[in-house]
Symmetry: C2
Subunit: 238 residues, 2 copies
């Protein structure tokens, strides 16, 4: 099996493959980390929607709604895009609608694939175990920032590559997965230092969200494996 | 000033900026290296065309035509895509039409920008000197491979970033230029070793083109600065 990393939703058409490749959508800061947290705290499902209008329509129907545009929480939202907001008290047993600048866009791009799962550092071992158990090719789809390359999602791609190569006998597909792996090897001893110059860290700093960043690059804080069902358009725990 | 690196023609819409940014199109293996060689050997101009049909139409009108699709030379072509084919004897004083899998596609994507120049390791100092003399922002547009990320074009982006930061006082724009620079620092002591696992090296090996690869990653073998004129749609030496 092989693992590759697609650096942007806009590149997905060139990386997608027919067949049974597992697509791992990742938006470390912060959509997929928040989704993992909400599901780990008992949310019945996540309903990812691409537009603010759809999110507002769900809110008007009585759903819990979270997310952001350009790092700022929706005025009508129950949650922003910070994992710790999705507490068990608020989300247990509920369907939670989420729309974000990048993460839900990436899900939207890949929703026709045969198996779409949600990855973050917070559930990276659950993701790796699932991939290895399935014995299928893996494509990490980085949400990026407005279709541009970013550090943190690519680092997740490198970290997952390292695990799948070491534990699952996968091959890292050059050129992208090889570079992601190399970045991860440079970064893993001090991830916050590595990403300190990244564009998204500057955005998070500007909104006093540095502590959130630290949490978002911490591995294995939850054990859930969120899977997207293209029929119901919901993400639930496997 | 800042320098950024766009990893694929498909990402160019998200990286392009209004104003006077210099776009450096790079396709190390082998289109932009061949263009630099042809112009250094006295070609009057390069006419880049996106499709094989256009290339054939020029051939029928009596032009010299070079290029390839999927590494294979056109049946009707005067040249393939190997720099050493573009000898002074053949090209001096002539307009040369070139169409390649990736390089001419990248030019096509960016042709509306205010200043498009052709970069390769073979003319990297000429490119750097021009950028610094213009005191404008720089965007390296990697031709990639069928819109996917590749190592060699990104390494050029890192190498140019290093020069512009050190000699021109430029800022490397994270996240992409920072990663390209980091890759270049890892690679520069032995570029051929660094790219040995790259996808394009495998394609070149399969066509006995390893020596060509070695030439294509060698810096400053020519001194020309090729500039694209969007009115005439020709590339000539500044």
């Amino acid at each position: 099996m092989k693992i590759d990393v697609c650096f942007s939703p806009a590149l997905y058409p060139y990386y997608k493959e027919d067949g049974e490749t597992i697509v791992v959508v990742v938006d470390i800061f912060r959509a997929t980390t928040s989704m993992c947290m909400a599901l780990n705290n008992g949310a019945a499902s996540i309903i990812p929607v691409a537009t603010v209008e759809e999110a507002k329509a769900y809110k008007d129907k009585g759903y819990l709604v979270g997310g952001e545009r350009n790092v700022v929480k929706f005025e009508f939202g129950d949650f922003g895009n910070t994992p710790s907001e999705y507490t068990r008290e608020k989300v247990e047993g509920k369907d939670v609608v989420i729309s974000t600048t990048n993460g839900t866009h990436a899900i939207d791009m890949a929703e026709d694939c045969s198996c779409l799962i949600i990855g973050s550092f917070s559930n990276i071992s659950a993701v790796a175990d699932f991939c290895i158990s399935q014995q299928k090719n893996v494509l990490v789809l980085c949400a990026g920032w407005k279709d541009k390359f970013n550090l943190e999602d690519t680092l997740f791609g490198g970290a997952l590559t390292e695990i799948l190569v070491q534990k699952g006998g996968y091959n890292a597909h050059f050129d992208a997965a090889g570079v992601a792996l190399s970045m991860w090897k440079d970064a893993k001893s001090d991830i916050m230092k590595y990403i300190a110059n990244g564009e998204h860290m500057k955005r998070l700093e500007a909104h006093n969200l540095i502590d959130v960043a630290d949490f978002c690059v911490t591995s294995d804080t939850v054990k859930v494996l969120p899977v997207y069902d293209k029929k119901t358009k919901k993400i639930t725990v496997l």
